[in-house]
Symmetry: C2
Subunit: 277 residues, 2 copies
């Protein structure tokens, strides 16, 4: 496994990789969810590149950039059996002092995470396009857990004519249903127990839908009531929307429908989603 901190080095290493190349961009502090992406990249490509970069431009000024969990040594040990190249750039390597060009996705970022986190998807879009240009992958792998991020990445790659495939991978869950996330490590023991309500509320939505409930308002209300029973849960949003445009379904649910939510437990904000087919 080669480890590269410089863009010029990665270009050199990249040019010698066997095609096709699978790429998994991450912010590190890896868990089984990331490894599932890397394993899928391994199965579908001759070469696998993983980046570990906690991207400062996708965090708001009051968000947890400094606090975001990091453990590079452990990450590298986990990647070793599966990965050909790890890209480990510094913030200064990706954003030199005079950096001043942004990739701006449009309407799709004005809802959900984009509404709650102004500038977040500008940072995501910019770093993703930069990493794609550096790595030039055949396929790039993203988790379905970050559903809006996935929709944004697909949109910007299509709109800017990036020549690669975006592959969506299913969300991995803990035994109680909590979606795997690096941020779970920031929860207290009590918050961690309460956080299982996210998946329970999504499972409830699925159950209602399967039973024939088509009223988006009814489904949202049942989810809200379930989550509000947990003392420290603070709902940011509960949404039922089209999975690509993210346009909210205000009344009737029309499949496929992305049911997504963001809930804060103390200072830690968690997201999760399912798709009703």
């Amino acid at each position: 496994m080669q480890i590269s901190e410089k863009i010029t080095d990665i270009r050199e290493i990249r040019s010698q990789l066997k095609e096709p190349v699978g790429f998994v961009p991450t912010m590190g502090y890896l868990h089984e969810g990331h490894l599932a992406l890397v394993r899928q990249a391994r199965e579908e490509n001759e070469s696998v590149v993983v980046s570990i970069f906690v991207n400062p431009t996708q965090f708001g000024p009051r968000e947890d950039f400094r606090n975001y969990p990091r453990d590079t040594e452990r990450d590298l040990a986990m990647l070793e059996p599966l990965t050909d190249v790890v890209l480990l750039p510094s913030p200064e390597e990706i954003y030199p002092e005079d950096f001043d060009t942004w990739v701006l996705p449009g309407d799709i970022t004005e809802r959900l995470e984009g509404a709650a986190r102004p500038g977040h998807f500008r940072g995501v879009a910019t770093v993703v396009i930069k990493l794609f240009n550096i790595v030039r992958p055949t396929r790039a792998y993203f988790g379905q857990k970050d559903a809006q991020q996935l929709a944004v990445v697909k949109k910007i790659a299509a709109d800017l004519d990036m020549n690669l495939q975006i592959i969506a991978c299913p969300t991995l869950r803990e035994p109680d249903g909590l979606a795997m996330s690096s941020r779970n490590s920031l929860l207290t023991k009590e918050q961690r127990q309460e956080a299982a309500v996210l998946y329970r509320s999504l499972a409830r939505a699925q159950e209602l839908w399967t039973r024939g409930e088509k009223n988006a308002g009814t489904i949202r209300l049942e989810m809200t009531e379930l989550i509000e029973r947990e003392p420290s849960a603070d709902i940011s949003y509960i949404s039922i929307a089209h999975p690509e445009t993210l346009k909210e379904m205000l009344h009737r649910v029309k499949p496929p429908a992305l049911v997504s939510l963001a809930v804060k437990f103390g200072r830690t904000r968690l997201i999760d989603n399912i798709v009703l087919e």
Copy 2:
């Protein structure tokens, strides 16, 4: 010479071109200035791709998009001896109905043309990144005449880690010094004669600089007075600035200094520049 209107076709054709590939993006209505770019691309590369696309997103709502001169048949005849592939996409091919992602250059676009034409460089940057992603050239050729465009393209290519070289080519001029431009065809006979003052004013700046004049205000003033003698000339700006950052030199001229100007003759707006070394 192959002519391609579809992105999927150009990708297919591109994959069979011999490396290195030189690319000249144009808005058509070609003149000797464009052909000089194409000739240089021909000399420096195994394959040459030219695009003809009048990019709607770089024109303001009150600008001359509809009025912009077009003559594709003549363009193709001029390119035939020099070019392997001409990319001739429709606006709908480049901007499908749901297109909604923009490349936004920063501070560098707030001056000169960017200040006079809000949104212009957002359109330029977006189409250039799209064309680069479609054509994947080794080198791309731009005229020094559009000095700020050149600076913007260099900046976005560097900031977004595009893996190609941006080559600047000198401005070609008519016998009286007027910089070649497709927009010259829109001038009346009187305006065309008056327009020669642009180059005379730039030559005057060069002369003053060579003689030891270091006061930017003095140089700007002499240029202004010269241009104002022409009855229909309407100055948009006269600037002495750093060629890369475009930061204005308010007092002392420090080489290299880009002397650039925009002047309207009736409804036609012309630009030109020289660099003081």
